[in-house]
Amino acid sequence: MRQYGVFIRKEFKHIFRDKRSLIILFALPIAQILIFGFALTNEIKNTHIAVIDMAHDAASQSLTDRLEASRYFELTGDIHSVADADAALLADKIKMAIVIPADFNNSLMHGHASQVQLITDATDPNTATTLQLYASAIIRDFQSDINDQFKLPYSLHTEVRMMYNPQLKGAYLFVPGVMGMILLLISAMMTSIAIVREKEINTMEIILASPLRPIVLILSKAVPYIVISMVNVTTILLIGVFILGLPVAGNIFLLIGVCLLFILTAIALGLMISNIIDSQQTAMFISLMGLMLPTLILSGFMFPIENMPVPMQVLSNIVPTKWFFIIVKDVMIKGLGFASIWREVLILAGMTAFFLFVSYRKFKIRLA
């Protein structure tokens, strides 16, 4: 027991005496969560658009007012023709132009039909679609208000309700995703580097030539990173709830429990990497390229897995972050209990057991 104590304290000393480790361990997670939370958001907010009003009548003014009042759009005033709008789109001054035809009010009131044209910059298809949806919704609102005045028969309404995230906040998606990525990277990368470093600075040679049981070495390497990762989980959750306005809809203890499980998965993965790899650089490279890319692409947090080709969908199953992402979304945002996430928890537990088994079998009792 005394050995564990001394070894764990030694590991903490290594971490706290190295500025780079400290930055990676504590500053990076906070920076990432804030960057993803605020800067890299795909929400539509105050997007510049132009309204080309060719009618200049009561109806067109009323529609323009509604567009202006929405917090999604910011109207750019000095564009008055389709040609101007085209130039502004090209110059990236606006993202969308809305053309209201001449004689708008009249055709709406007497011809019973009118058209509004939406021109969007589709170089970014996601944004274009979202903008067009938001604008259509406002126009639909406008129309239904007119219809109310005249009490038209046979009308069909859609009643939309965005569940669990009524304000469509990007943070609801990013926080669980970034949390999974950070925990996986830090726990797996730092653990593997910590063990590989012993090989690189030759201390492994003395440690191997001593009666120390490998399990003591491995556990004392893992414990500090479990503690640090739990600190990071707490920080990320606090930032998520108090700065980014996320709910914790489910049981907080269940949430912390699954985070701990995921940290163990990541550390077991790090141990496995370190038992196969001999240099810090390779360990870092494998952790970054081999873990970060699949995590970004295949965990479902940036790109929906359902839309991917079947081989990619199959491949995504071996990415631990995918399961963690599902669990955190379910518990934190949807407020589900253990009964609905036991399958994902079991998968993560199985992965952890597998990684530990491989590292145990691969642990070399001699130098290569």
Partner: protein, 305 residues
């Protein structure tokens, strides 16, 4: 009783292409200070790694304290101290933290075995809060020796402990080894021939083989040739001229002069002097051979083939 027995150990790399150790056999007595002397690549480190159970030999057998290095590796690891050739302490930990870590590694404490390392540690004590990475070369090696000793090993393996250390520290280091020797069997390797005379027995190694194994005196005694030290104004011309003479078995630069070796009946001093009369400032002196001369005598016929 022998503390270490090595029998026909062979170790190869690259699927047999490179022979690190070629059928090496020797034994080390209890309480002996045994030296492995040879240049880089002679196979000293390979031998250490096999004896410290870190590598497996391709063939052959080795025992440390009567324990087999393959089967009983766990038992051996409790009883040996090992100081690898490359510096292998934690540079970001202080002197005291390093020592206490290595004590814990062997399930002991600094206090328990303080008497064994006391002589060395008193020199380190003033720097005990300094990071190991900030120590001088000599101090680093003394700390590494302390760390290898702190668990009172029965056999101590030191792989080139004085490489890169200044002459004064080297001398101090060897004095420490002589003092420890009464209690511990020590096997030490070094590329420095002058350190060889400080060992009880030495093995001269080259290309994975032991060329000769004896006490330093015995090795010098077995040197049968005549050895002369020759100096002149044109050293470069001299070395060529001497090597061109018949029956010269060795001629190499040694400090400021040349050491010239030949069978005792081949040349006389005057005969050699007249053969080299075209060189000015010629100084010829008979000398007694050192370990390095013996080593050169051993490897030269070998290198000629």
């Amino acid at each position: 009783m022998s503390a270490v027995i090595v029998e026909h150990i062979t170790k190869t790399f690259n699927k047999g292409k490179i022979k690190a150790l070629d059928n090496v056999s020797f034994s080390v007595q209890e309480g002996e200070l045994f030296g492995l002397i040879g240049p880089d690549g002679a196979g000293k480190t390979s031998l250490f790694r096999i004896l410290t159970t870190l590598w497996l030999a391709d063939s052959g057998k080795a025992e440390v304290k009567g324990l087999d290095v393959v089967q009983d590796y766990k038992a051996i690891r409790k009883r040996i101290g090992y100081m690898p050739g490359k510096f292998s302490l934690y540079q970001d930990l202080t002197v005291e933290e390093n020592l206490s870590f290595f004590a814990t590694l062997f399930n002991t404490t600094i206090r328990e075995n303080y008497d064994l390392v006391k002589d060395i540690y008193v020199q380190l004590e003033p720097f005990k809060d300094r990071k190991a990475g900030k120590l001088s070369g000599g101090m680093k090696q003394k700390l590494a020796l302390c760390c290898a000793l702190i668990h009172k090993p029965d056999v101590l393996f030191l792989d080139e402990p004085t490489t890169g250390v200044d002459p004064v520290s080297r001398k101090e280091f060897w004095e420490m080894l002589r003092r420890l020797q009464s209690r511990i069997t020590i096997i030490v390797s070094t590329p420095y021939m002058d350190e060889a005379t400080l060992c009880d027995r030495i093995a001269l190694m080259q290309d994975g083989r032991i060329m000769q194994l004896d006490t330093p005196e015995g090795i010098v005694r077995s040197f049968n040739d005549t050895l002369l030290s020759i100096r002149g104004n044109d050293m470069f011309g001299l070395i060529g001229a001497i090597r061109a003479l018949p029956e010269i078995s060795g001629c190499y630069a040694f400090g400021e002069s040349l050491h010239v070796r030949f069978p005792a009946d081949a040349w006389t001093e005057t005969g050699l002097r007249s053969a080299l009369e075209q060189f000015s400032g010629l100084v010829i002196e008979p000398i007694t051979p050192g370990i390095e001369d013996c080593f050169m005598a051993l490897i030269e016929p070998h290198a000629a083939h």
